[in-house]
């Protein structure tokens, strides 16, 4: 397990002390809010609707049991007993007091965690596949590269005032589970014809008010050229990106306006300059990181009574059917613990649940935990002989809901229940949809189905990538929800198509119900997922179901 403490603790304590002093100066009137705001944002502190919010980075979603226990401490000591997993593999605390935040940052520093660059126009937390190092289809583990990028980008002097925020995703699987096409830079680990490892490099993807999928700027980048090439991309963007209009400032707009070929030419020219001054220290560090991320000591043991327990307990069988992913090592599985139980707020975890997960990771999971971008937690390495005991422990804590990837496994941003930018609520919509399909008993029948909800155009709920996407808006002082169809964030990246006029809150569930009924009617077999039926038939039959009066 990677342990950031030795490298960063002193630096993080220094940053925390700096922030403590800034808070003191804000409170004694030496700093105005205009002066203080950029300082607090650099430390992940937002002021939201009802309270301050602290966003803590969980580097590429990888977290140790001790770090998880510290998140539990923050939740119970300085918040209201819970935290919220975000779609960028971070955690947000919704109720901290400004005066307590320096103490929270100190506690985080003790375990190598921080909130640096979780806001502002900087390079944000690098995200990756929650199943990194475990998935059966993996080319190689992306985490050493993610950590290299993290160390390089943290406090990188050149990139603290970019035209806009900047998000990098890296994926090591044959199947992309990090949605690299929806990021400013997407890195896909591949091998070339000679069998050498490298990256397919994508740029210019992003959601928000102008959703665009990225484009491949370099088909094959040798592994050793990662940092100079990424640096060349971001420095090119830093100069060429627009600063006159924040809605046109992301690299997706720079690429769209200037053209991919122009960008590529400038990036490749700058790359030669940058590569010339890299001394190789990055490659030495990368080699160290590969050792840090060496696989744990996997057990070569029989599966025990795993199949017998599956046969004996239908609920356990159902959970293993939905919440496990194939592991690259025989006898192992990766477990998704969903935070989407009936009535639950998507992605909310109590301090008690965090503590339990930390213990269970130590007992059953080689002390490895991941925060997934779908607001769930993954135990990447669990031996099958331990699965029943793990399941029982999770079940007692209400954490064994068998719904990973099903219609109730909804991704939702905090929406106007918390967020100052939101134009409508997301959480109650997610709860109503999940409750409805549970009540109809249709979850298993519908199968894999991905609903994503954002409470404003900024699209933190990644609604464009949902099979059904829901966008909450304010229409003349009433919450109104626009529906998009056919998006995909897992398989073949696709931006959903806006179906038509929005729906008032109370009409959202019936509208989605009609789409689901149409799908169940139209699919050729129970194995045909909604997205497959949609690709086969197009949007028309589902639009007709949404708007029967127009059909």
């Amino acid at each position: 397990m990677f342990d950031a403490r030795p490298q960063h603790n002193e630096y993080l304590r220094h940053r925390s002390a700096q922030f403590r002093s800034q808070v003191e100066r804000r409170l004694n009137g030496s700093l105005t809010e205009d002066e203080f705001r950029p300082l607090r944002l650099m430390n992940g502190v937002y002021l939201q609707l009802h309270a301050y919010m602290l966003r803590v980075a969980i580097p590429y979603g990888t977290i140790s049991p001790d770090q998880m226990r510290t998140l539990a401490l923050l939740a119970s000591k300085w918040d209201k007993g819970y935290g919220h997993w975000t779609t960028r593999q971070n955690i947000q605390f919704n109720w901290p007091k400004l005066v307590d935040i320096p103490d929270m940052l100190d506690a985080l520093a003790d375990v190598g965690l921080h909130a640096i660059q979780t806001s502002g126009n900087t390079i944000r937390n690098v995200t990756t596949d929650a199943f990194a190092g475990a998935a059966a289809d993996e080319v190689t583990d992306p985490r050493p590269y993610a950590e290299l990028l993290r160390q390089w980008s943290t406090d990188h002097g050149e990139f603290q005032f970019l035209p806009r925020k900047f998000k990098i995703a890296i994926s090591g699987g044959k199947q992309d589970r990090a949605v690299i096409a929806a990021h400013d830079i997407g890195l896909r680990l591949v091998t070339n014809d000679a069998g050498e490892l490298g990256f397919q490099v994508w740029i210019g993807g992003g959601l928000g008010r102008t959703p665009l999928l990225g484009k491949v700027v370099r088909e094959f980048l040798p592994e050793a050229d990662l940092l100079p090439y990424v640096e060349a991309i971001i420095s090119t963007y830093n100069l060429a990106g627009r600063r006159d209009n924040k809605y046109k400032a992301r690299i997706k707009i720079t690429v769209a306006e200037r053209g991919l070929d122009v960008m590529r030419e400038e990036i490749e020219a700058e790359f030669l300059n940058r590569r010339a001054v890299f001394t190789g220290v990055d490659q030495a560090l990368l080699n160290d990181l590969k050792n840090v991320y060496a696989p744990p000591a996997f057990r070569d043991a029989p599966e025990g009574d795993y199949e017998a327990q599956r046969a004996r307990h239908p609920a356990f069988r159902s959970w293993t059917d939905t919440n496990l992913l194939a592991h690259r090592v025989a006898g192992y599985a990766s477990v998704t613990v969903t935070f989407k139980a009936p009535g639950q707020t998507p992605g909310d975890a109590s301090a008690e649940q965090m503590l339990l997960l930390a213990d269970l990771a130590e007992r059953f999971g080689h002390s490895d935990l991941r925060i997934a971008h779908d607001q769930n937690v993954v135990l990447p390495h669990v031996h099958k002989s331990d699965l029943y005991a793990l399941y029982e422990a999770l079940r007692e804590a209400g954490l064994a809901t068998a719904n990973a990837g099903l219609i109730s496994d909804i991704i939702a941003c905090p929406g106007m229940d918390y967020c100052a930018l939101a134009t409508a609520r997301s959480i109650p919509v997610a709860q109503d949809i999940a409750d409805h399909f549970r009540a109809r008993g249709l979850e298993d029948e519908i199968g894999k189905f991905n609903i994503r909800i954002s409470g404003c155009i900024n699209a933190c709920g990644h609604h464009h990538l949902g099979h059904i996407g829901i966008l909450g808006l304010d229409r003349a002082g009433v919450e109104n929800y626009q529906i998009t169809l056919g998006g995909d964030g897992y398989d073949i990246p696709a931006i959903g198509e806006r179906a038509g006029a929005g729906f008032p809150g109370e009409e959202v569930v019936p509208a989605i119900d009609r789409v689901i009924d149409a799908y169940l009617e139209l699919r050729e077999s129970p194995d045909e997922r909604f997205i497959d039926t949609y690709r086969r038939l197009g949007v028309a039959p589902f639009k007709a179901a949404l708007y029967p009066a127009n059909a």
């Binding site: 002021l47 009802h50 309270a51 005066v99 106007m416 229940d417 304010d474």
Partner: protein, 109 residues
């Protein structure tokens, strides 16, 4: 929201902000601040409201981001919100009994 809106007898306003130290929502009352939205002062005159807003902005060591929010006079004479965002700020989130709804219940006990 205050955008494009002028306080008047027909469209009254309250002044609201967040508390600097704690972050919770507060409303202006007699030149100071209250945590109880029902105690907020209702402004029905544009000039008086604008002067009060300037006073609120001058209290940047107590509150953050004061603004005029449209309101209406309720049956009991107290201010009520006209927009759902302000209603949520007065109540708290819908997924937990946290925020104002809990604070006000505790203070009424």
């Amino acid at each position: 929201m205050s955008k494009g809106f002028t306080p008047s007898a027909a469209t009254p306003a309250v002044i609201t902000a967040n508390d600097l130290r704690m972050g919770h929502c507060v409303w202006m009352q007699d030149g100071g601040w209250t945590s109880d939205p029902r105690e907020a002062q209702l402004y029905e005159d544009e000039a008086i409201a604008e002067i009060a807003l300037l006073e609120a902005i001058a209290q940047g060591n107590i509150v953050v981001g004061p603004y005029l929010a449209e309101a209406r006079r309720g049956a009991d004479g107290r201010p009520e919100p006209t927009h759902f965002r302000e209603a949520f700020r007065r109540r708290g989130p819908s997924n937990y009994f946290h925020g104002k709804q809990a604070d006000l219940e505790a203070s009424n006990v």
